[in-house]
């Protein structure tokens, strides 16, 4: 479908095809496009690019962004030279500024784009014009959209770079990988004395009470309730529960103000108890990962 749409559009407007080398060249020639043509072409190229990427065609967003950007530049030149009372420079400057302003916001690389213009044109005037457009386009797009198309795409997959690289790394580690095998569990009808003995043996203060299907009922702490018949009646709901999707970064946030040995981890789907992670294990996992990141950062030193 996307291919058919591209083909049919290209019959009327061959400029939408390919990486647009010739269209980019035309964009630098004054008056190569009429105003209406530019608008239709920008719209068509944007829609078709989205369609093709969405349909899984191989290809990226970079070269379409160069083309769309320079056409936007041409659009502004056409408008400016038609209505402005002051004389304007050639379409080429507008096209380059538009191209770089647009592409830098899409790929999130403003400095790179400014340097590319400088390298290729070796012209201070063009570079300054491009710099102004790059700076403003990045300011606007950062507020409205995000840092770059790639950041937004990654964020959709659950990788968020907006809080820094550490955060992204920690978010990739799941607490479910740090389960403590020695955590003590009990069923609701276990005798309290029996459970207290087992806890003493393992050196833990809390036992996790499960029902017949293995779902978590609550936490039992011996000695907190006076005389009770079964563990079930003495169990209190856990103050903090992680599930198998909880990552290290989130866990560290939620551990703030938590008092206790360990946090139970349940399956997000079935609610079944999977195990427990101790506070000490989470802290050491966090420290290990931070140390690894520091080593990686300083690897070249």
């Amino acid at each position: 479908m996307a291919g058919l749409a591209v083909g049919l559009t290209a019959l009327a407007m061959p400029d939408v095809l390919g990486i647009g080398t010739s269209t980019l060249r035309f964009a630098t020639i004054d008056g190569a496009f009429a105003l209406g043509e530019v608008i239709v072409l920008i719209a068509a190229k944007t829609v078709l690019t989205a369609l093709c990427i969405g349909a899984g065609f191989s290809g990226g967003a970079f070269s379409p962004s160069l083309l769309i950007g320079s056409l936007i530049g041409v659009f502004f030149w056409t408008v400016a030279s038609a209505f402005a009372v002051v004389p304007t420079s050639g379409a080429a400057i507008y096209a380059i500024s538009g191209m770089m302003g647009f592409a830098s916001a899409v790929i999130g690389a403003p400095l790179t784009c400014i340097l590319i213009v400088f390298e290729l044109t070796r012209n201070y005037d063009v570079t300054i014009a491009a710099m102004v457009s790059v700076v403003f386009s990045n300011l606007v797009s950062h507020r409205v959209f995000g840092r770059s198309l790639f950041d937004v795409q990654l964020a959709r997959r659950g990788i968020d770079f907006s809080l820094g690289r550490d955060r992204a790394h920690l978010a990739a580690l799941k607490v479910v990988d740090h389960l403590q095998p020695e955590a003590v569990t009990a069923t609701a009808d276990d005798a309290p004395e029996h459970v207290a003995d087992r806890l003493l043996e393992q050196g833990w203060r809390e036992a996790f009470v499960l029902d017949g299907d293995g779902r978590l009922l609550g936490v039992f702490t011996p000695g907190a309730h006076g005389d009770i018949g079964s563990v079930g009646s003495g169990a209190v709901p856990a103050r903090l529960i992680f599930d198998d999707a909880t990552d290290l970064a989130e866990a560290m946030e939620r551990l703030r103000g938590f008092v206790g040995d360990a946090v139970p981890v349940v399956s997000g789907e079935s609610g079944k108890y999977l195990g427990a992670v101790s506070e000490a294990d989470l802290v050491s996992a966090w420290l290990d990962e931070s140390a690894r990141l520091r080593r990686e950062e300083n690897a070249s030193v």
Binding site: D15, T21, R25, T28, I29
Partner: protein
């Protein structure tokens, strides 16, 4: 005598049926005269063959009509005509790898031999101007041809789309390597004709390639598009006040090819090998300003035997010219013949 020449002679002597006559087809005029002196006569002396020279108009249709009947063997063709003729099976296929060493194949410029044709020389469409018309600043770039404010006056252009469309885009700032790509689009053609519109009222048309130099001499035009050889003749032989602007020159390549109907394929191949040695190319280029198609031939170019002038500055593809150089895209020419003519006539008609 070099070893390769010796082998060539031996192979011809050893051939059981000695080639009696080889028909070479060329263009006539000063061009053919130079070719005889530089290439054909030395080959005849060397091999003892009887070489006959016939003249044609350069089109592949002439080859189809007359080639077989008149016994054409070796033909001097334009690269685009040769590629059409090759595709139509009118040319005898050669194997460049057996005719030339790897080093020789690398030596060809801007492109090497293909399965039907071996490049022999380069001519160019250039812009020239009447030096008397511009007392101060002279035109130096193709853009100046379209700048009637700084350089007012009539411009002489061939009544044909060839060359002028390329210049129109070069004047718009398109780099030479993109010109044919853009001219292949409708928008590119429109832009080229739009550029041509800016000088529409200043154009004087010519049809005979001898005219532009005459128009510059007698004041009918101040700038002209034409072939470098003609301007050379006017400027150096007739002492006309003509100067050539080398920027934006459109270099075309002439090739040697063998007719498919030849009865002497071996002798024809030997002739081509002889004609495309750097020495032959250099001998030819010192007599008429058609540049050699091999780099190493430039080192051998000296004085013109008639005028005593050094010839290197007048060759269209001489490396020292600088400026933009556009190599005529023969396949583009071969494929767009009808389209170009139609669009050009359409543009001419809108004038009236």
């Amino acid at each position: 005598m070099r070893l390769s020449d010796l082998l060539l002679v031996l192979s011809l002597i050893a051939a059981p049926v000695a080639a009696e006559e080889l028909t070479i087809v060329s263009w006539g005029g000063a061009y053919e005269a130079a070719q005889r002196q530089a290439v054909i006569d030395p080959f005849a002396t060397q091999t003892g063959l009887d070489l006959k020279v016939t003249v044609y108009d350069g089109s592949w249709t002439a080859l189809a009509e007359r080639g077989s009947a008149e016994g054409w063997d070796v033909i001097d063709m334009l690269a685009d005509q040769a590629s059409v003729a090759c595709a139509k099976g009118l040319l005898h296929e050669i194997d460049p790898d057996t005719l030339f060493s790897q080093a020789a194949l690398q030596d060809f410029t801007p492109f090497g031999p293909d399965r039907c044709a071996v490049p022999q020389n380069a001519y160019a469409r250039v812009m020239a101007f009447d030096d008397r018309a511009f007392a101060g600043v002279k035109p130096t770039r193709i853009g100046d041809f379209f700048d009637t404010t700084r350089f007012p006056g009539p411009r002489a252009i061939q009544r044909s789309p060839d060359g002028i469309l390329e210049w129109a885009l070069l004047a718009e700032g398109v780099p030479p390597e993109q010109v044919y790509g853009l001219l292949s689009t409708d928008r590119g053609l429109r832009l080229a004709f739009r550029k041509l519109d800016t000088i529409r009222d200043d154009i004087v048309w010519w049809d005979d390639p001898a005219e532009p130099a005459e128009m510059l001499s007698d004041g009918r035009a101040v700038m002209a598009a034409g072939f470098n050889g003609r301007f050379f003749d006017a400027a150096l032989r007739d002492r006309a006040a003509i100067d050539i602007v080398w920027d934006g020159r459109i270099v075309g390549i002439e090739v040697w090819a063998i007719a498919a109907t030849t009865d002497e394929p071996d002798a024809a191949r030997d002739f081509i090998v002889h004609a495309t040695t750097p020495a032959s190319m250099a001998r030819f280029a010192t007599r008429i300003p058609y540049g050699p198609a091999r780099r190493s031939a430039f080192d051998r170019i000296g004085l013109n035997p008639d005028t005593g002038l050094p010839m290197r500055p007048y060759l269209p593809n001489a490396p020292q010219h600088g400026g933009r150089i556009l190599v005529q895209d023969s396949s583009w020419y071969a494929n767009t013949e009808e389209l170009r003519q139609r669009r050009f006539r359409g543009w001419l008609d809108t004038a009236e």
